[in-house]
């Protein structure tokens, strides 16, 4: 004889777990949205925090320059090499300039720049704010009547909005130059053909699309990284203290990278 109800307590627990996880996810999304709105609203509160914006632009932008140049150069070089061997089989290696420049400007430039900045600056944001949370520095701000989100998040988001497009532009230029190095100097494609194809194929809408992506990625990365650090203490599963901060940092990087790819697809879908 079958015992149809024997697993009922287990089933109820599983449903409870799913419900709990769903509620946690919805709460987290709501909290992150409020965090973002509050941070953006505080940008316009006087006095403007120009010195902090400058400091963070230096940290996010100028200090990421080397890694962006390096990544851009090798991405362009690999594209040049791969593109050449693919195109040469169809006898259309002259189109290498177009292939490299469009791939970089439309997709690889904004996406790889954002991922590299997340790895370098985003993780640092999450860790720094997380440490401030566990060492009561954020509580100290509140006791001094200083709005913590305005103090910590607002200048960073402005700095990211300045830095991301600039770094993406540098990545694009260096990447196209990388393609030129392998395509023209190594594989022997005519230099002026390569450059002509770059100029010919790239339209304003491509550049606009790339910059639009970098603006959106700036918002996504800064919000996720600052939010994860700011609410380190609320994540009961991650533990508190150093362990909590390290998990918040890891999660912020992983989550930012995943969201960059998702948002990239959505924007591309509307742009093409």
């Amino acid at each position: 004889m079958a015992k149809p109800y024997i697993n009922r307590p287990m089933d109820t627990k599983q449903i409870e777990n799913i419900g709990g996880a769903t509620l946690d996810a919805v709460t987290s999304i709501g909290r992150m949205t409020l965090f973002f709105i509050s941070g953006v609203a505080c940008i316009f509160v006087r006095p403007f925090q120009l010195d902090k914006i400058f400091d963070h632009t230096w940290f996010i932008g100028a200090k990421s320059l080397f890694v962006i140049v390096l990544t851009g150069l090798f991405t362009g070089m690999v594209l040049g090499l791969q593109g050449y061997y693919t195109l040469v089989t169809f006898g259309s290696e002259a189109a290498l300039g177009a292939a490299v420049s469009l791939s970089i400007i439309r997709e690889l430039g904004p996406v790889l720049s954002a991922i590299m900045i997340t790895a370098r600056a985003g993780s640092a944001m999450a860790a720094e704010i997380g440490v401030m949370r566990i060492s009561e520095q954020i509580d100290a701000l509140e006791t001094m009547q200083i709005h913590p989100i305005r103090f910590l998040f607002s200048p960073r988001i402005v700095a990211a909005l300045i830095s991301f497009p600039l770094l993406t532009a540098i990545f694009d230029v260096v990447g196209i130059f990388g393609g030129y190095l392998t395509g023209s100097l190594m594989m022997g494609i005519n230099q002026s053909v390569y450059m002509d194809k770059v100029v010919e194929s790239v339209r304003t809408i491509d550049i606009f699309g790339g910059f639009l992506k970098s603006f959106v990625f700036a918002i996504v990365v800064t919000t996720i990284c600052c939010y994860r650090g700011y609410y380190t203490h609320l994540s009961t599963t991650q533990g508190y203290g150093a362990k909590g901060v390290s998990m918040a940092t890891t999660n912020s990087v992983v989550q930012s990278c995943v969201y960059i790819l998702i948002v990239d697809y959505i924007i591309t879908y509307f742009l093409v």
Partner: protein
């Protein structure tokens, strides 16, 4: 009878299933130095954080000059909060700011004064607390005692009317403990602020405090003068003072 500046009326607070405050009744009077004592983990810091607004009660009333804090108009609430200052147990100094900038932060960020006046006030506080030549250093370059003094200078730079001290002498040797106590006593006399001090330094804290309250199992089990506590017949209080279970 004088109206208390701050009054806890049956305040209850839980964190999940952990009931920290189980109906706290406590009165804090203007210009008084009140020491809050009790075993570790009984909710003394949580009690302090209710006053500054870092934690909100689940039930009960927090009265400010007889008016419930939650029903105060926003502007009045803000004015009251501007009168408060908090010194954290671990100092909570900002590692990325110099000592000078740490002390100036509450004045600079709230745009309370022009830059020259902020500089003057910070320098004055630094001199009063013997922090003269270290303005350009960062907190991690200082000793524990110096960091305490920087935290105290930051707490006092806004000329607060109420200063909340959360175990201000934790981690200090007996000589420095005494120095911090003397400092608090001197500045309280000089500036006339109301002080609430959470402390484990028994009996030293009785020399500093005018009144003492003891928190046990989430409730205030004793409140009175320092003379009263030394002559009380309450078993829990006597045992705690003697360091017995």
């Amino acid at each position: 009878m004088t109206l208390p500046l701050i009054q806890f009326v049956d305040i209850k607070k839980s964190f999940g299933s952990n009931h920290v405050l189980k109906g706290v009744n406590l009165s804090i009077y203007q210009g008084d130095i009140l020491a809050v004592i009790g075993k570790s983990g009984t909710g003394k810091s949580v009690l302090l954080k209710h006053i500054i607004g870092l934690v909100s009660q689940d039930s009960g009333e927090l009265l400010i000059r007889g008016i419930p804090l939650h029903s105060m108009p926003r502007k009045e609430k803000l004015l009251f909060k501007n009168e408060l200052s908090y010194m954290f147990q671990e100092n909570a100094l900002f590692d990325f700011l110099t000592v000078f900038d740490n002390i100036a932060l509450p004045l600079a960020e709230n745009c309370l004064y022009p830059k020259s006046i902020i500089e003057e006030r910070v320098n004055t506080r630094m001199q009063q607390l013997g922090l003269g030549p270290i303005g350009g250093k960062f907190p991690f370059q200082l000793s524990g005692g110096m960091r305490k003094r920087v935290a105290l200078a930051r707490a006092l730079v806004t000329d607060p009317k109420v200063v909340l001290f959360d175990e201000p002498t934790t981690g200090l040797d007996p000589i420095r403990k005494k120095k911090v106590h003397t400092m608090i006593e001197e500045y309280q006399r000089q500036f006339g602020f109301t002080a609430v001090i959470v402390s484990h330094d028994i009996p030293e804290i009785f020399d500093l405090a005018q009144h003492v309250a003891m928190l046990d199992e989430g409730k205030i089990v004793f409140q009175g003068t320092k003379e009263d506590i030394l002559h009380t017949h309450t078993n829990i209080v006597n045992a705690f003072i003697r360091g017995e279970e």
